[in-house]
């Protein structure tokens, strides 16, 4: 019979005490596993979410706030910046340094009975040209669409693409229509215009799974999304200051030339625009659109009837953007572009990966460390409870130890059996704790994903888990040492005489 089997029999003999100490160890390890895996997955996901572009350009203010509301759809947007900043990257002063620039227009949401998801007015380049992370082989991951779906067309103003979580929780499918709600979680529904879902993203494991993406041309045509002429004038003056005198003319020319077109949303043709957009609203309702619009309370789902109709796009000088995602043509331009923008008075450019790393290092990292220390303490307490359990049993087991000694067991043999018992109890409890920890992660996964976009499932592992079992063996050896020494010192003649 092996020492392991003798040790296991000893554990079985004290089934209740062994189960309770084992349970405390398993719970401690489960908590540790949950902390390790959730932190690891979250960090990877946070870092992945901001991959694919170098800079976020937005209003001056908190850098972290800009990153949080642009990348993770959290926190309130700071302010909007002139549309000219976006144009700077498309055909302006930074165009030569830019591979792709994608505007973000925030401020609306889609609300169901239980959830509120952010709506992002943007350009289809977001899904066509920007990757959202890397495959294990290092190649970039690009957005793909679920069956039957596609990206929205730049000239189809009221088309929309949904993140996978939004589609699932909101019960939306391709062809469905929905209304946006003004503000984040507000009740003022933009009931004049509905967006038609043309695509649903495959799950990306990013915060974008929890957002709706609409054509920014349509977004601008929703109520209260345009600047007044006075505001537009102020913006132009600000941009003139920002760009300097030599760029002022360039900007004016851009605005003048881009503000005079009509766009047919169905065939994408661009026609000469009437002067109606100069009237201050820039929005003209279309008869077909009205026909398809239904009265809605909140962001109610509207029956599917795609008919984007024709719209007159909002003149560029009446536009703003909340932020711009910028993928530069080369990393070497990062410093120049960032510094140039940050020297101005209106906008700031931040490197999201840096801000996220800083956030993780300064806030999440210490919290993670505290949680990890707490779980380690729990495991240590569980280890001590194993020590107490075995040690308390040594008195009643001295007789069994003496019998084994009488049968020829050496002092080292009985010491090893007690150590094995401690190790066996710790490791079996630790393994149960690892399984329990992953089960907890799997159970919590859907709830966490729904609220944060962080995808959790049973088979996500953290490399630090590899340390858990060896650490438990070391801990078990340590806590088993005292009772093992007691076993070593057992007086055989005295213990047999007590029988």
């Amino acid at each position: 019979m092996s020492f392991w089997k003798i040790a296991w029999r000893n554990i079985q003999q004290r089934a209740l005490a062994s189960s309770l100490t084992g349970l405390s160890m398993a719970l401690g390890v489960a908590a540790m596993i949950a902390v390790l895996v959730i932190h690891g997955v979250s960090v990877r996901q946070f870092e992945q979410d901001a991959e694919g572009y170098h800079l976020i350009v937005g209003a001056k203010g908190g850098k972290l706030q800009l990153v949080l509301n642009t990348v993770f759809h959290l926190s309130e947007p700071i302010e909007n910046i002139p549309y000219a900043y976006y144009k700077d990257f498309v055909d302006g002063r930074f165009a030569d340094f830019t591979e792709v620039a994608v505007p973000y227009c925030l401020g609306d949401s889609y609300t169901t009975d239980t959830d509120s998801f952010r709506i992002v007015g943007t350009h289809p380049d977001l899904f066509d040209k920007l990757p959202y992370g890397n495959h294990p082989d290092g190649s970039s991951k690009y957005y793909t669409f679920q069956n039957g779906g596609r990206n929205f067309h730049p000239d189809a103003f009221f088309e929309a693409v949904l993140g996978s979580v939004v589609a699932r929780r909101g019960g939306l499918r391709v062809g469905d229509r929905f209304h946006a709600t003004h503000g984040l979680g507000g009740e003022d529904v933009h009931d004049q215009n509905a967006f038609t879902v043309v695509g649903i993203l495959n799950p990306t494991g990013t915060a974008n799974d929890r957002a709706l993406f609409v054509n920014m041309e349509g977004f601008y045509l929703l109520g209260n999304h345009e600047l007044s002429h006075e505001q537009a004038t102020q913006r132009r003056q600000v941009m003139a200051t920002e760009h300097g005198a030599h760029l002022e003319h360039h900007t004016d020319t851009d605005l003048d030339t881009s503000a005079g077109h009509d766009v047919d949303a169905e065939d994408g043709t661009v026609t000469e625009q009437s002067s109606d957009h100069e009237n201050g609203t820039g929005v003209e309702q279309d008869a077909n659109a009205k026909q398809n619009e239904e009265p809605a309370a909140g962001s109610a789902l509207v029956a599917s009837a795609p008919n984007p109709g024709q719209r007159q796009s909002l003149p560029e000088d009446l536009r703003e953007v909340t932020s711009v995602l910028v993928r530069l043509a080369d990393d070497m331009y990062l410093g120049h572009v960032k510094d140039t923008i940050n020297e101005g008075q209106v906008a700031q450019a931040v490197a999201p990966t840096y801000e996220i790393t800083t956030l993780l290092d300064r806030i999440v990292g210490p919290i993670h460390a505290v949680l990890l220390v707490l779980t380690i303490l729990i495991v240590l307490v569980a280890g001590i409870s194993i020590l107490v359990s075995i040690y308390n049993s040594m008195n009643e087991r001295s007789h069994d130890i003496a019998v084994m000694r009488a049968l020829g067991a050496s002092r080292w043999a009985v010491m090893a059996i007690v150590l094995f018992e401690s190790i066996l109890l710790s490791v079996s409890s630790g393994l149960a704790g690892i399984v329990l920890g992953h089960a907890l992660i799997a159970i919590a996964g859907p709830h966490v994903e729904a609220r944060t976009g962080v995808v959790l499932h049973f088979f996500q592992f953290d490399t630090w888990e590899l340390v858990v079992i060896p650490s438990l063996i070391a801990l078990a050896s340590l806590v088993g040492l005292l009772p093992a020494i007691t076993a070593y010192r057992t007086d055989v003649a005295k213990s047999l005489g007590n029988s």
């Binding site: 029999r9 009488a406 050496s410 055989v492 005489g497």
Partner: protein
């Protein structure tokens, strides 16, 4: 085979006073002998068996089994020697409660330091009439059955000498004879010498060689 010469052993009381227990000029047991040492309770019989088994060190003299002076072996050597050459049957059986009958016998083979055929444990249990109770734990066995498991455990390593310390003391009179018969029979079958200590005349009277402990031991019995 077993030879004790001038064996002396004393304990020390808390006051520091020396309390002699054993002073045995000579004791010899031949191979396959079946010997009883008879003496009253508390006279030092168990201490003598512990000394022979190497569980209690002696103060003077020598204890030799098959020519090996047990007292001169290091502790680990004594443990190994005991596992291979000496079987021990206790007064209270001393079966481990968490182990089955078979496991209790296998436990006897665990510390021998050599690979042994585990089927011998089953054969021995069958030999003592417990072939159908292999997987029963001690609590599920009668007192007589427990003692038979203890006998099988003591003999599982084919020792040269079986020490039996009052093996019938905790057994009702109806089963005492069965245990004695079993011990004698199995020791003969296995060619093992038997040294049994008891205070009961009814037991000692059945053995061909009986040694009176009080006569053999030079230490006066306390009144």
């Amino acid at each position: 085979m077993l030879l004790l010469e001038n064996v002396k052993k004393a304990y020390y009381e808390p006051s520091g006073a020396r309390l002699p227990i054993l002073d045995i000029p000579c004791l010899e047991v031949a191979a396959t002998d079946q010997v009883v040492i008879r003496g009253q309770s508390g006279c030092g019989k168990t201490t003598l068996l512990h000394a022979i088994a190497g569980l209690t060190p002696i103060d003077a003299g020598s204890i030799q089994l098959r020519g090996v002076n047990i007292g001169r072996l290091p502790e680990a050597g004594r443990d190994r020697f005991r596992a291979r050459h000496i079987g021990y049957v206790f007064q209270t059986f001393n079966l481990l409660a968490g182990f089955t009958a078979l496991e209790n016998v296998l436990l006897g083979m665990t510390f021998i330091g050599q690979k042994k055929d585990p089927s011998r444990a089953q054969d021995l249990l069958a030999q003592v009439g417990l072939g159908h109770r292999l997987n029963h734990k001690p609590a599920a066995l009668s007192v007589g059955e427990q003692q038979r498991v203890a006998v099988a455990r003591a003999l599982v390593n084919k020792p040269d000498l079986l020490l039996a310390d009052e093996p019938t003391a905790n057994i009702d009179p109806a089963h005492q004879q069965q245990v004695i018969d079993l011990l004698r029979k199995v020791c003969l079958q296995e060619n093992v010498a038997l040294l049994l200590v008891t205070h009961a005349d009814v037991i000692s009277s059945q053995f061909p060689r009986v040694i009176d402990f009080a006569t053999m031991n030079q230490v006066p019995i306390p009144s």
